[in-house]
Amino acid sequence: MPKATLVYIALLIGLAGAAYKVSTWFRYSLGSKKFTASDRVTAAAKGILQTLLSNQFASILRSFFLDVILQAKLIRVSPLRWIAHILVFGGFTLLLLMHALGVYVNPLFFSNYYSTLNPFLFLRNLFGALVVLGLAIQIYNRFIHRDPANPPSSGMDVYTILIFALVIVSGIFLESVKITSVSAFRDMTEEYATGESEASLKALEAYWVANYGVVSPELAQPFSPEMLAAGKAAHDASCAQCHAPAQWAFMDYGVSRLITPVAAWFDGAATRTSLYWIHFLICLVGLAYLPFSKVFHLITAPICLMANSVMDRLQSNPANYATKQILELDSCTHCGACTRNCTMAFVNSIMPNQMILPSERISSLKVLASGKPLSFRDSLVIQEGYNQCTNCTQCTLVCPVGINLQDLWFSARETLAERDVPNLLVLSPLSIYRGLRKDEIDVPSYARPVSNARKAIADEFGSFHWPGVAYTPHEEKMLDTAGMHLRQNAGAACFSCMTCTNACPVVKAHQNPGAALDLLPHQIMQAVKLRLWDLIFGSKMLIECLGCYQCQEYCPMKVPTADLIFALRNVAVSRTYRNISQKALETL
């Protein structure tokens, strides 16, 4: 099959893939399902046009030069990674223009273009060397220097480094085989040194063996000066015009010296052709697969960076914001900067849920955005991971491609909340973030997670009564550490003076606190003595205690009231969660 056809096929696959990816930006969404794909296409076209015609264009331009071309965000994350990225990106782009598309591009700048002449011969190697150096740094960063704070590498990470490395290595190897190949040399002399005598052809070959790295089976160094002089004369007459010294291709030449002992084995037109096709096909595979690999960030990251320089959740058109969020998912390069700076990533060491790590959430976000069905268990795992987040903004601040990660988590959590999988983490100050962004959430959806969580706890404890439950050693420990020894009835010192209840600001906030809170603080103390667990664990007071410690501070008997309430809440949450997880496992 002709080469051009193959290139077009690869290009077509690549373009079809890109078109599919772009269509997902408009079809998928996190959260709001209000807009149809065509609404979003129209909104995007309008938005882009308006932005380009407004003074925001300056921000986009600024972001293009600073963040896209100079990659300013990356240099702030890690200067070493910036160097590696610039080397690979710069080197590969130049190779693409000067080497892969050289036939079209170079004549625009140079009148006498031959890939075997300088500057091309040297530049091709120089650019290749930049890529090799960049890749070496990346391989060191990812696989050799194992930073424990880094997220685990995925198959895609390996693929990306591998495809670039294979392109370069196969190219260098092809060229080094060509340098040593005596058959290639003889083919050339047949074509271009037609007038030469047998003796001068031999001298020419000797000259090329001595100076150009050709490995000849018949001729061996050292050669006599006369022979070399004759070879040089023939060389000047027939070859020099199109061949700069092979040493200029320093990498190819270097490798050719290494393979000299086995060069004869590699020699032959068939080997050269196969090597050529290997190099060529690897490039085409990379091209065809580009939209499905993370190399696609070549297209998406610049759009993401520029869009985020002018977009804002509250001010931008919600249709465009939804589109941008899906685009962001395709921009992630899984570099791990977010996870390295995550204030919660450390918790992954005790809760083996990878969804805690921001860099690992992107794949599940794609599933969520596509609206594909998720099993109860998967929803539970994803939800637990996403909701451990304290929303400290660090991930968003460090993302080198400028993804507004914190907003993605917010949208994803709201999308998950609609699945009504109980989420007990909302019964904690982690909900403050959500509460502060209440205006951005639909009114009926807002109260659902909290009421679902309360219901889950009430269901868990509504069924059992006297004489109570056996505690796991972990739960007993939890109650002990809070300063209360349930088994030993340490609350016994409490004589119901109600100082705690009178000091409690939550009690004071209600007209009829007994009805609103189910149990008042002093009643909780009494219920502990009587082991009325269903009453305690189902009570609103247990969840609505602020932890302000006024009760404990003022207690005349030094009962650690607030610590006890927190310990009880821990037990309520952990027991309920355990049962929900068990149910989730049963659904498998």
């Binding site: 400290c392 903004t393 982690l430 403050i432 420990k477 205690c545």
Partner: protein
Amino acid sequence: MSLVFFPCCVSSSFMGDCEFAARNVVNKLGVPIEDVNGFNCCGYPYKGIDFKAFILMSGRNLALAEKRGADLVTTCACCYGTIKQADNILKQDTSLFDYVNGILKREGLAYSGKGVVKHLLEVLLDNPGITGLKAKLDGSLSGVKVATQYGCKMLRPSDVVSFDSPLSPGKFDELVDATGAEAVPWTQKLECCGSPLIGVNDATAMQLAKNKLDSAREAKADLMVTACPFCYLQFGRSRDALIRESGDSFIVPSLTFVQLLGLALGLGQTAVGLQGVSLPSGLMKYAQSREVPLRA
């Protein structure tokens, strides 16, 4: 002992300006506090739902402080109280101590109880101290009446925190007085702002904030000044909501203590992060008049 900033998640999420202000204030006062990466959440949100996670998170932060040989400095009363309480528990509970160290060992850290967390208020009261501060502040905030909001975890449980008297605290008030402003007594001074219930029970959270805002107004305060970002956010958002609901625009606005100090140090509006903050007009004019280039 050297000092490192312990960043608060809520502050960095919603109050980047205040974080910035804190750095400007300590620079201006010549208190060297370094910025270090690698801390995790203090564990405050986990106390009620996953006790062990809370202890572990605080323990790790303390271990990091220990490793650097530096004290943690926070501007958040909740981070402060939480880490202090975890420290207190770890010092008494050997099995939790072993648990935390077993996990920290994997990354070459160890908690031995030497790490210390301090609130920035505490640091400044120590160095430069009230007299030192008075020398640096020009007292030009005189006439501004301030209701001081310590934040629950600055005061309670007092046997763990021991920053000030839990019944009649006064150290923060002294600091406010040093700026020339006047700390006024107010009835709800010791109460909780209600922020832990934001997102869980918004009605109760709002009621608690309203009680405090009303009390500050009764005490004729021009400003509420908080030592905790949670209180600051809660007062700000409740004030906005109450103004929207009732049109009552005389509800007392709030600032964080670093912003008040910044103003008293003549740092100007940008340096203390006051763009878009509503303040009594006199104070705002003062802030604007102090506008000076940041890196002069």
